[in-house]
């Protein structure tokens, strides 16, 4: 009897709790009520953060093709607040949907917001555990909002086009794909330094790539030091930084040789930095090894003259790295290629010695560059 009662009670309990797990009895959100955010632009003005996000528009699909061109496939929403989190909430409130950052691919930080604090901007993602640590981060030359408003005619959504831009730049050795995790990690180091790609909005009215004649290009990078943007750097500096970071495996150099411009593709680039301490000065020996392939066919046959060409290529690469070091390390005491990690890894005692005044040690550091480039001879044989 008692056993039966228990069974009935257990069944009743099961049904009651089953009901509570059914969607009708539990607060829930349907997919079309969510703002599936693809890209976020963050600006800073009058001590307020302004956020614009692009979110997926479900009505933009369902036509004969995957994307119905008559409908915009992304919508935007704007908001502002004292911090990025508040601005995001405001933008969510305005669009009337619940935000979802699980597939966010891109964060564009406006110039002023980056100058104010990159750390503050990125902090909001820590509250959204669903956000992917792989999302890419760039800095807009002006306002992030304008960069996200460009309506590209290729690609399903403009974030894809932006991703292609960066992927191509990475293949050319100009920038490494700057993901949020790497930025977070860099912001945890002593100098809080990084270099992010810079997006420039071109308004020539002649571009076929977008509906409004506007387009975007990567015009170089922005140096982040002590958690905020301090300077703009050009493509040569960015390329040099990528080599120093050991992030890029490919690149291109063009050298003058016998009245001819010869382009050599660098492959399998490997950079090693070894720290030492001499005469109260931090000394960093940078050794770059790479293979090389001719990208333009030389007029003459330089089979026996590869050594000279290899040296010229090496000098060109060293020049790039020197330029990167001058613009970032010597000028600001910044550490965009994470020397902190290298010093600690190779010589912990040295790190203990320099860590309290690391910025000053970097400003007065000495860099020794060595390059070994081996151009593939097979290309030249007839």
């Amino acid at each position: 009897m008692f056993n039966k009662k228990i069974k009935i009670s257990a069944l009743a309990l099961f049904f009651v709790f089953s009901l509570s797990t059914l969607s009708g009895c539990v607060p829930h959100t349907e997919l079309n009520e969510k703002a599936i955010i693809l890209a976020i632009g963050v600006d800073y003005e009058d001590e307020k953060y302004k956020v614009m996000f692009q979110y997926y528009n479900p009505t933009g699909i369902g036509g004969r093709t995957l994307v119905d061109n008559s409908q915009p496939n992304v919508l935007t929403s704007k908001g502002e607040g004292d911090n990025v989190y508040a601005a995001m909430e405001d933008a969510t409130f305005r669009c009337g949907r619940e935000m979802m950052l699980g597939v966010t691919q891109f964060i564009v930080i406006g110039k002023k917001a980056a100058e104010n604090s990159v750390e503050e901007v990125m902090d909001f993602t820590k509250s959204f555990f669903q956000s992917h640590p792989d999302m890419l981060v760039t800095v807009a030359e002006e306002e992030a909002e304008k960069a996200l408003e460009v309506k590209f005619s290729e690609g399903i959504v403009s974030t894809q086009k932006l991703k292609f831009l960066l992927t191509n730049a990475e293949k050319s050795g100009i920038v490494a794909l700057p993901n949020a995790l790497e930025l977070f990690t860099a912001l945890q180091t002593v100098r809080k330094s990084s270099a992010l790609p810079r997006l420039r909005l071109l308004d020539s009215g002649q571009s076929d790539a977008s509906e409004d004649g506007k387009t975007l290009e990567i015009s170089g990078g922005v140096l982040i030091n002590e958690g905020k943007a301090v300077d703009e750097v050009d493509i040569e500096v960015m390329s040099g930084l990528q080599m120093l970071c050991c992030k890029t495996e490919t690149g291109t150099v063009t050298v003058d040789y016998k009245d001819e411009k010869i382009s050599v593709g660098l492959v399998d680039i490997k950079t090693k930095i070894k720290p030492s301490f001499e005469n109260n000065q931090l000394v960093l020996t940078v050794e770059l090894r790479s293979g090389g392939r001719f990208l333009s066919t030389p007029k003459g046959r330089y089979e026996d003259e590869n050594n000279e060409l290899e040296k010229l290529c090496g000098d060109a690469v060293i020049k790039r790295m020197e330029s990167a070091v001058k613009q970032t390390v010597f000028k600001y005491g910044a550490d965009p290629f994470l020397l902190e990690k290298t010093i600690r890894h190779y010589d912990y005692g040295l790190w203990q010695k320099v860590k309290n005044n690391f910025g000053e040690y970097l400003k007065n550091a000495k860099f020794k560059f060595i390059s070994h480039i081996e151009i593939d001879k097979l290309i030249l044989s007839e």
Binding site: N3, L13, F17, K126, Q188, K341, H345
Partner: protein
């Protein structure tokens, strides 16, 4: 009413159950204590588990001397008054452990992937599963616990394989103690968080034979897994491990295997299920202890009451991180652990010497051995 009996399990099963319980807590590194970036963590884990092994010695001696019995069983048998004191202290300790675990799980699950789920459901549903597990006994819990632990280790391997190309060995550096002042504090916290030792002082009596071997397997295995988990975190996150609220969740969010773009969702589901194992073990301790004191039915009622208290307290105060910090601090201070698993087992050893103890004496341990027709093989009907 025919109560489900708590049957015997093997020492390996108990070791795996403890490992599942421990790994749940470690994976859900609740942002109450910050994990510091540094090689010191490796030394802390190693030292903490060496100390933990030493703490297990009284229980190991007890298991060797009185096989098939537990500290709580011996004390109750010898001195009921002292048995009551021990049982009450033990109940409070395991209740604190289960409340802390439940609050952690609720916070973790609602912060990560179950953001929309009503919080009461995140508490009630696991507790119903726990109640069923307590009803079914340790054997059923052991079977599910082994599956969860295997899935956990499987996913750990999958995450490692899928993220290996992102490993950066330069985040490692050759200094195993770099914050001497904080070292012993970190060790104490790591040792103090091991509530499994309290469980062992009770659940040892459910082991069929060679009880002491549970410790020989559990301690090194968990130490090794924790070292591997931290190595993975360091290689992928570097100094970001300090500011990531849930470092291991971030690591699993980075993983990208063929079928799943990210493993964090599945991981959270598995870890949530492991919470059920931890709470069930706590309640089985209560069931076993009260069973010895006041009988079978009372034991089950006490365990179910424990679950109700856990649910009620978690719902009422679980939203306050200050409450969870305070509750966890009681555990990590080490007093409950030392009292329940060192002081009382030592008393049990002394008391055991004064008179014969164990199944052969016919004392009320509830353990029936031999080839009794009604009890085939060894079985503890508690």
């Amino acid at each position: 009413m025919q109560l489900t009996s708590i049957k015997k399990i093997s020492y390996i099963q108990l070791a795996v159950l403890f490992a599942a319980s421990r790994l749940f807590s470690e994976a859900m590194n609740f942002p109450l204590t910050t994990v510091q970036y540094g090689m010191q963590r490796f030394t802390v884990i190693l030292t903490a588990y060496a100390i933990l092994f030493v703490q297990y010695i009284p229980l190991i001696c007890l298991s060797v001397k009185y096989p098939g019995q537990s500290a709580v069983g011996i004390i109750i048998e010898k001195n009921k008054g002292l048995g009551w004191i021990y049982t009450v202290i033990l109940s409070v300790s395991v209740l604190i452990a289960s409340i802390s675990s439940m609050c952690r799980m609720k916070f973790y699950a609602s912060s990560t992937i179950f953001g929309q789920a009503p919080e009461y459901l995140l508490i009630i549903l696991p507790l119903i599963a726990c109640a069923f597990a307590v009803w079914k006994g340790i054997q059923a819990t052991a079977r599910s616990g082994v599956i969860f632990a295997a899935v956990f280790v499987g996913f750990l391997i999958l995450v490692s394989i899928s993220t290996w190309d992102m490993f950066n060995t330069k985040w490692l550096y050759p200094n195993l103690i770099d914050r001497k002042d904080a070292f012993w504090g970190e060790v104490a916290e790591q040792v103090g968080s091991n509530s499994e030792i309290i469980y062992f002082s009770v659940l040892a009596e459910h082991i069929a034979e060679k009880t002491q071997r549970t410790v020989f397997w559990y301690v090194p295995a968990v130490m090794l897994i924790l070292e591997l988990m931290y190595l993975l975190e360091i290689l992928l996150l570097g100094p970001f491990v300090e500011s990531a609220n849930f470092p291991f969740f971030t690591v699993s969010a980075l993983s990208n295997i063929v079928l799943f773009q990210r493993l964090d969702g599945i991981d959270v589901a598995v870890w949530t299920l492991m919470c059920i194992v931890k709470i069930t073990l706590a309640m089985l301790c209560i069931r076993t202890a009260y069973d010895r004191l006041i009988g079978k039915k009372a034991g089950l009622i006490a365990a179910l009451s424990g679950l109700v208290i856990t649910g009620a307290v978690s719902m009422a105060f679980g939203g306050s991180s200050n409450f969870v910090i305070a509750v966890t601090a009681i555990l990590t201070c080490g007093i409950p652990m030392l009292t329940c698993s060192v002081v009382f087992p030592l008393i049990a050893l002394i008391m055991g010497k004064k008179g014969k103890t164990g199944p052969k004496t016919g004392l009320k341990t509830g353990i029936k051995t031999g080839s009794n027709k009604n009890n085939k093989g060894a079985e503890a009907n508690v």
